[in-house]
Symmetry: C2
Amino acid sequence: MTEIPRDHPRYESLSLRETITRCVELGITSRQGLIAHGRGEAIDYLIGEKTLPTALKAEDAAVATLLTAKNPVISVNGNTAALVPEETIELAELIGAKIEINLFHRTEERIARIKDHLERLGAEDVLGLEPDEKIPGLTSERAKVSKKGIFSADAVLVPLEDGDRCESLVRMGKIVIAIDINPFSRTSRMAQISIIDNVIRAMPNMIACAKVLTENAVPKKDLLAMIEAFDNRENLNETIKEIKRGLNEGRLEESTGYSKLSIW
Amino acid sequence: MTEIPRDHPRYESLSLRETITRCVELGITSRQGLIAHGRGEAIDYLIGEKTLPTALKAEDAAVATLLTAKNPVISVNGNTAALVPEETIELAELIGAKIEINLFHRTEERIARIKDHLERLGAEDVLGLEPDEKIPGLTSERAKVSKKGIFSADAVLVPLEDGDRCESLVRMGKIVIAIDINPFSRTSRMAQISIIDNVIRAMPNMIACAKVLTENAVPKKDLLAMIEAFDNRENLNETIKEIKRGLNEGRLEESTGYSKLSIW
């Protein structure tokens, strides 16, 4: 484990790397998950490592959707479990959602370890270890889901999802909310609500929104109006425009990302 | 190990992921190296996953520089050893360079494994296992180098280098040639010759150039003229312009990268 000084300009990013690397050692995250994390880091530089206004809009619409859903489920993979385990549990409690572990590189052992990890942090009744249904149209191990969880969910929050599975969930008629930092991914294009943000910023933002909406007991009709007012395609297009605008104005050069980065 | 079908649109990229992941299992690549690989993948999407004309220019100037150097050295880290071991050996032979292993996350064991890996592929006298000098100005393990290798080299090829070390090598008065897909990195800015390309494309390009120059016995004065004609700063600026041009014209959306990518 490499010790990172607190005053390092890239402290947060480097700490996340250490966290996710440690989670590989603990059997929670797959090695392929580390590569995905790296891709996410680079795309985050393009975005300027901050939540764009369009992302916040999507996050609010997502929370309203989850609050009005009958059986909302948060799907958790190895990277989500590594990066935002506590936030996932807190959000699930606030919105009354189930948590189900679903892995691209699925092994029983890794699911058990993630379940254990989440339960030690306070989660209860984490699904995924004993799948009793399959998502139609997927042949791989990823198809395995739980009947009372993802299979019967009307709304699914899928942080860091793969495109195939996202597409299959949409085909099943579910409302799919994706957290994916890449606005060009198939997941971002397939989801009904595409949150183009780093999961470590998106989850706290959603928790904050969920608190406001629940503590103020915002009525269902107002939540439905929030959802109605949100246009995902328009929001996604605006996000892409904003990213390009930032690039043309030198965001990548000025960003706290690569230019100050000492580890490559 | 995940089996990737040959006709998968992302076959090459996914195979590289499998290769580098396997190299972590073999103790050749560090886990942090996987995250770096992911960052490289994402930046490569911006470039369009092809060698830009400016990169080819830098690759040619780099080969001319290495051929005219008195003691050229190729520095090898875990990712280079995983992705282009044979190419590294071939290029070293063509240009008469030494190979020295130098790791950011240095362990004796990993150096020994990389040495073994390269020697099994035909490399001879791989340096790095018994460092007897230090790069001034670096406190970490990265400072450890061999006297007859990097320490006394006049030109060093550093694929996938970290910024601190690149800077220190430049301060030592060496000609540093970096292969770094990120044009905004400190490494790319510090190096005298910055090759903004994926190492898996850069190395074969350099081998091809080295063959032409050596088989035609191009005289030293012509090699020096090639080097003289190359302006790294101008080339780097042109690269950045070209990347932005591509983005504005929809390269990222159209690229074979994310939009067709099924694994995230």
